[in-house]
């Protein structure tokens, strides 16, 4: 840009018309600005695309199709001795309840006079989720007096039928599908016409535990939410204070020497360590050496803490570096100690950067599966862990793990669940970040 020729006295230009040089620079300015805006727009578009794929695929997980039928709880099958002894009733397995439900459905079909060509036994049996028999059994175990009565049971229907009402399954695909048939779907339509079958809001997706491959309709993220929550508690309680403390030491107190250089390089290097390696470390250090239990959120939390620390430290150090030295001088000059100058003045000014590091670090920690693979948290867990602190030591799953697991499953219904779990994960993340974002806005200032 040094090619603009200029002879002695500058020509006096009007302010209202830009001279060529300025025009060039203004064009560069406009380009620069456009790049900036473009960058934001690109990011936003990507965000919208990704979010819309997630939402498009996942919101349906929050709705589920239920069937309400009268079920005759046949005493002959459920309590052979007839004395309602809980021990005896316990001996009756879910298989029997499955049969009872099947009979009930057949009865209903007969009662309502539904006739569908080509409807096989398998279609009728397969209509009801396998989860239903377990629920029914639990209901009976809780109240043995029900035996012999006819109760109304609200049961989950098979994932394919559910998919039919969510547009995932069509008559054509059902014809090819080994797990359903057009006849089954017609039956569902008929039941729907009778008002017995409906697709409703599904709380249990948020509360119930994972389910096996055969019953996608029953799978939920309850335990995963708890597990993630517990882990995040650990991460939040450890990573943020430790990370900030370490950065403060390195940036403000540590003498500039070989040793601190080593630490500095070390930390940025840790950020580049693949997360699964932290899993190896966690397995070796926390489970094999320290003897902490497997599949426990405490171990997951610790591993994720170690993994998040470098992110937080790097962000915090950068933020501390950016605080002008005159602020430190000012504090020291009125007799504040180094510690006071840092905690009273420098840290608040570095807060936005620290919070950003926290947001990004936690986002990463919340979404990470690989290290959990090795410490046993990528697992099928059905028992709800108790409240902390004890719950921290009990097996739990985690949201990204649930997503990872579900995307691997054979039944396509799990894809929808996985997207649903991702939505939950994002909501979880947003809730977590909200506080940080608000705080960050409070601390932001220019000087």
């Amino acid at each position: 840009m040094s090619d603009a020729s200029l002879d002695g006295a500058k020509p006096r230009n009007s302010l209202l018309v830009a001279d060529p040089h300025t025009r060039k620079r203004n064009a560069a300015e406009a380009r620069f600005r456009a790049y900036g805006l473009g960058a934001i727009v690109i990011s936003m578009i990507m965000l919208v695309i990704l979010l819309s794929t997630i939402l498009g695929g996942g919101v349906s997980a929050f709705r589920q199709t239920y069937l309400e039928i009268p079920v005759a709880l046949d005493a002959a099958q459920l309590d052979k001795n007839g004395n309602r002894d809980p021990q005896d009733i316990r001996k009756i397995l879910t298989l029997t309840y499955g049969k009872i439900l099947q009979q009930a459905l057949e009865q209903t079909i007969a009662d309502k006079g539904i006739a569908i060509a080509g409807l096989s036994d398998k279609d009728v049996t397969g209509m009801i989720s396998k989860e239903a028999s377990a629920q029914l059994r639990n209901r009976v175990l809780a109240d043995p007096e029900l035996i012999g009565q006819t109760v109304t049971a609200r049961v989950l229907v098979n994932g394919r039928v559910d998919g039919y009402y969510k547009g995932r399954v069509s008559m054509e695909s059902a014809a090819r599908d080994a797990n359903t048939s057009p006849a089954q779907l017609q039956l569902a339509d008929a039941l729907k016409a009778q008002g017995m079958l409906a697709t409703q809001w599904n709380w249990s997706f948020l509360t119930s535990p994972d389910a096996s491959d055969q019953r996608p309709e029953a799978a939920g993220v309850g335990i995963a939410i708890l597990g993630s929550l517990y882990m995040m508690l650990v991460v939040l309680a450890l990573a943020v204070p430790i990370g900030v403390a370490a950065s403060i030491y390195l940036e403000e107190f540590a003498p500039q020497n070989r040793w601190t250089d080593i630490i500095e390089v070390n930390i940025s290097n840790l950020a580049a360590v693949p997360s699964i390696v932290f899993g190896i470390l966690g397995l070796a250090a926390f489970i094999n050496f320290a003897g902490l239990p497997q599949s426990a959120p405490i171990v997951g939390g610790l591993v994720l803490t170690l993994m998040t620390l470098p992110t937080i430290i790097i962000a915090t150090r950068a933020a501390l570096k950016a605080v002008p030295p005159s602020i430190r001088d000012a504090a020291l000059g009125v007799g504040a100690s180094k510690m006071q100058s840092v905690f009273h003045h420098v840290l608040p000014l570095a807060m936005p950067g620290i919070l950003t590091g926290t947001i990004i670090g936690l986002a990463q920690a919340l979404g990470e599966t690989a290290p959990l693979l090795l410490i046993g948290m990528v697992a099928f867990v059905r028992n709800v862990p108790s409240a902390p602190p004890d719950g921290l030591f009990e097996p739990a799953s985690a949201l990204p793990v649930q997503v990872y697991n579900w995307t691997q499953r054979a039944d396509p219904a799990f894809i929808e669940r996985a997207s649903g779990a991702i939505i939950v994960l994002l909501v979880f993340l947003l809730c977590m970040n909200l506080l940080a974002i608000l705080l960050r806005r409070k601390f932001e200032r220019r000087w």
Binding site: R90, L93, T94, L95, K130, A134, R137, V169, S173, A174, R176, D177, A178, N179, D210, A211, S212, D213, Q214, L283, I287, N288, G291, L292, P293, Q294, S295, L373, L374, G376, M377, V378, A379, F380, V381, R382, N383, P395, N405, T407, Q408, R409, A410, D411, P412, I415
Partner: protein
């Protein structure tokens, strides 16, 4: 610790979860925790030692190796019960709207091997269309999604399809003549790397997704996965046999592998329900031909009764040998 800890193969995982779920529902024991992370990692954890913070059961899509038994022993895991739960069929499937395929192992060898025999000479694989291999195969680009080298399925595929095809097509003889015994074996199993054979490090869902984005691809799946996705996939026959639980159980369909789990006998008694879970797993109601595992795609073990007896007796591998 109250609940049983199971770790290991992701192929066995679906079956193990079905059993664990049923076990939790029908007994007073808590539902076992079933991890997935691969046979190797599962067995490694299993062999880490004896005690509360080690796993009780390792699932594996292959038999435990001698070196692993040694490693186990070194860590004090001496009493291991081996339980075979059944077989996993391996099938070839393509997009439902595409062509039909009837394969022989030799076709696969000729399609995917790095080097094939053409007119009696060893040449780098020149085939680009299936029809070039055998005229009655459809004229379609060769594009195969094979399991990555981490998968046990890959081993089965290499041995039972590619190596078998190598023999069948007569290429093995030529290789032997040209390269000698040792080289020939690895030449038989070397796959081409020019993008016709694509390794999949993920799982079957990834293979399925890849087929959906490249419709002319043929993927390798577990039988159970295929059975859950018959509306999207079309299965190919091998040597004229349609894969199904029956044809695999009878041994007609050649490509399958046994699935196992290993129980740490030293934990029986200290971990509540371990024995019960093991028995429950192999019971007829679950692992039998009519049980839910078979319904999901597991090929029931014809020798299930023997397995049940061994489990009842808590027979370890040492005592069995």
């Amino acid at each position: 610790r109250e609940q049983i800890q199971v770790s290991g193969s992701s192929t066995v995982l679906p079956y193990a979860t079905i059993v664990a779920e049923a076990f939790g529902e029908n007994t007073d024991f808590p539902t076992p925790v079933v991890e997935s992370g691969g046979s190797s990692a599962g067995l490694k954890k299993f062999c880490e030692g004896v005690g509360e913070n080690t796993t009780d059961i390792a699932n594996a899509s292959r038999a435990i190796k001698d070196s692993e038994i040694e490693a186990c022993k070194a860590n004090g895991v001496t009493d291991i019960m081996e339980v075979r739960i059944g077989y996993d069929g391996i099938v070839f499937a393509s997009d439902i709207a595409g062509n039909d395929f009837q394969f022989t192992p030799a076709d696969w060898f000729n399609a995917l091997a790095a080097e094939v025999v053409k007119d009696g000479k060893v040449v780098a694989n020149p085939h680009t269309k299936w029809s070039e291999i055998r005229a009655d195969l459809p004229e379609q680009e060769i594009l195969a999604f094979v399991p990555g080298t981490k998968h046990g399925t890959r081993e089965v595929f290499e041995e039972k399809v590619i190596a078998a095809g190598c023999e069948e097509s007569g290429a093995a003889e030529v290789f032997k003549a040209e390269k000698g015994e040792d080289e020939a074996e690895s030449a038989c199993m070397a796959l081409r790397t020019d993008g016709k054979s694509i390794d999949i490090d993920g799982d079957y869902t990834e293979t399925l997704a890849r087929i959906q984005s490249a419709k002319n691809g043929i993927g390798i799946f577990g039988l159970s996965f295929y059975e859950n996705n018959t509306d999207k996939l079309k299965v190919a026959t091998i040597a004229g046999v349609q894969p199904s639980t029956e044809s695999i159980a009878s041994g007609e369909y050649p490509v399958s592998r046994p699935l196992f789990f290993y129980v740490k006998k030293q934990h029986i008694g200290t971990i509540p329900g371990l024995k019960e879970f093991t028995e429950f797993f192999v019971s007829d109601e679950l692992a039998g031909a009519e049980g839910p595992l078979a319904a999901y795609g597991l090929v029931a073990d014809p020798e299930l009764a023997a397995t049940q007896a061994a489990v009842a007796d808590e027979k370890t591998m040492a005592t069995a040998q």
